[in-house]
């Protein structure tokens, strides 16, 4: 097209071919190549080695405290080996995975329920002014209420049953998830909303195509916190409300350890609670969050 133009006046060639070449050059100069994948060795040295060293150091200090006789009462501080024996025994009896599964299945199911309830709730609070004014403050207030406070009423309302556990999880996690979505929506740049409207997105289509994807990072942060709240609430519920019908989860294990005055069992329970909480975060939420942030160029490599 441009080559058919009659150019009599200008001294500089404004020819289309020229422009294309110029543009290709600019594009090549200005776009950076995607970050290369970090080699496995580097990941091991930078990400895996430091926490391993820290854990090892704790174990060494712990063992030193016991074997040097500074702490000589095993009912106060058992040796790491005693805790390890406890782990081995539970594994050999086949109960270790049962303990974990009882709690994890409850925690995840409760979390999924919280997700199903918290997401539409958060969306409505974020988008409907009246509802926001009505329950927004309550929702953020609930976040600061320790969910263990809900255990006594939940036991009285629902009895010593699984549904009481779920109620406590929901009361802990739903506000987190809803609030995460609310703050995610609040932080959506107004420019995206305007751009969406000029493209013709209105009502539900606007929410689905613009608001929700734009709010995803905040929402994921809320989910992460929601999981932490679910897990903590569940442990509180399991410790306080133990009953034979409920099976032995990690919280009950801890309580059993206290009743049996078995410090190794208590340490085992605490260790498992910690490990499971971290593992779920590392295996599910962190990769999800990283993926979303990286695809948007929001992840800064250190």
């Amino acid at each position: 097209m441009a080559s058919t133009e009659t150019t009599g006046v200008t001294k500089t060639p404004g020819d289309g071919q020229d422009l294309a070449g110029l543009e290709a050059g600019l594009d090549a100069l200005e776009s950076q190549a995607g970050p290369a994948r970090t080699p496995v060795r580097q990941v091991l040295v930078q990400k895996v080695l430091p926490p391993l060293t820290a854990v090892l150091l704790v174990l060494v200090v712990w063992q030193a405290l016991v074997s040097s006789g500074i702490v000589d009462d095993p009912s106060k501080l058992p040796a790491p080996s005693a805790v390890w024996d406890e782990v081995r025994e539970a594994w050999l009896q086949g109960t270790l995975l049962d303990y974990i599964w009882t709690s994890v299945s409850r925690g995840l199911l409760g979390f999924l329920l919280a997700l199903v309830i918290g997401t539409p709730l958060g969306l409505v609070v974020a988008r409907v002014r009246f509802i926001r004014a009505a329950i927004g403050p309550i929702l953020s207030g609930l976040q600061s209420l320790p969910s263990v406070a809900w255990v006594p009423p939940a036991v009285l309302w629902l009895g010593l049953e699984n549904r009481m556990m779920y109620a406590v999880i929901l009361l802990g996690a739903v506000p987190s998830i809803a609030n995460g979505l609310v703050s995610g929506v609040d932080q959506v740049p107004p420019l995206f909303l305007r751009a969406g409207r000029t493209l013709g997105a209105t009502g539900l289509r606007h929410t689905w195509h613009i608001v929700l994807p734009a709010a995803l990072p905040g929402y994921l942060a809320g989910l992460k916190q929601g999981w932490a709240f679910s897990w903590r609430s569940l442990m509180a519920a399991e410790i306080i409300a133990s009953s034979p019908e409920l099976g032995i989860g990690l919280g009950q294990l801890l309580e059993n350890g206290r009743n049996a005055s078995s410090m190794p069992m208590i340490f085992l329970a605490i260790l498992l609670i910690l490990v499971v909480g971290i593992a779920i975060d590392l295996l599910i939420f962190s990769p999800l969050e990283r993926r979303v942030l990286r695809s948007r160029g929001l992840l800064v490599r250190s």
């Binding site: 006046v9 404004g14 000029t198 734009a214 160029g297």
Partner: protein, 263 residues
């Protein structure tokens, strides 16, 4: 012709002879010191296929006017008629970072109701038009500033609107890239025959691009002066004809600004 058809006929004629018709438009905002008049009795037409730049110092309400034409806000008085919903391009690219360049364009097509099967080929075509054929699967953050604005241009064109509104779209770019994008925009405008209403505070940019330059005075914004630009394409920003007219317009613009220091 039958009189019953008169209004309908007038409407189609208006649609055919004007990409946008702005008549006696005023806009007030409620400021801290009472209502403030931002735009005062603006009357302006954009013909089909015409390229008009709106020029003015800060406070002349040029972005406000563009928002009104885009339908993002309502005028306090007067009427604005456009042929369909105009496309709007911002100073920031406003591309959605959760979508690839190609999917950004496809979203615009989808919201316009283009069937799924046609979206991908159409998006590729539009990327081709702005000379970014390889960028379909690229994420927004992987593109340079100039490439982002070209994708944004392609997305705006995907709306298939008769009128393209541009709100200082190149202001944040470096001079070299801006110059290239001026050429690019001129080329795309001539190939697609879309009407453009382009807001800027850069006099040379206005002259470089437009067939008509409209100068707005500030506080409140009024149409102060208008120039036809008959310099033949291709133009360069350093052409003497561009420089000459820019000088004349700058003098006028400075006069408008000076008036505000006098009281």
């Amino acid at each position: 012709m039958a009189t019953t058809l008169a209004t309908a006929a007038a409407d189609t004629r208006a649609a055919a002879t004007h990409a946008a018709r702005i008549e006696h438009v005023s806009k007030r905002f409620d400021g801290p010191a009472g209502p403030q008049l931002v735009l005062d009795d603006i009357t302006l037409d954009v013909a089909p296929g015409e390229f008009v730049t709106l020029l003015g110092a800060s406070g002349c309400g040029k972005s406000t006017l563009l928002n009104l034409v885009a339908g993002l806000d309502k005028p306090s008085a007067g009427t604005i008629a456009t042929d369909g919903r105009p496309a709007l391009m911002f100073q920031e690219h406003a591309l959605f970072p959760w979508l690839t360049a190609g999917k950004n364009i496809e979203l615009a097509l989808k919201l316009r109701g283009v069937p799924k099967a046609e979206r991908r080929p159409r998006a590729e075509e539009l990327l081709e038009l702005v000379r970014l054929h390889g960028a379909y699967g690229k994420r927004v953050h992987e593109l340079s500033g100039g490439m982002r604005q070209r994708v944004a241009l392609a997305r705006a064109l995907a709306q298939d609107s008769q009128l393209l509104l541009m709100d200082e779209p190149f202001a944040a770019l470096d001079a070299i890239t801006r110059d290239v994008l001026h050429d690019e925009l001129t080329r795309v405008w001539r190939e697609t025959n879309v009407s453009v209403l382009f807001v800027t505070h850069n006099v040379r940019e206005a002259v470089r691009l437009a067939q008509r330059v409209v100068l707005l005075s500030s506080r409140p914004g009024r149409v102060a002066h208008e120039w036809r630009v008959d310099i033949p394409h291709p133009r360069r920003i350093e052409d003497s004809a561009v420089a000459e007219l820019s000088l004349e317009i700058t003098e006028q613009l400075r006069g408008e600004i000076r008036r505000h220091g006098q009281h």
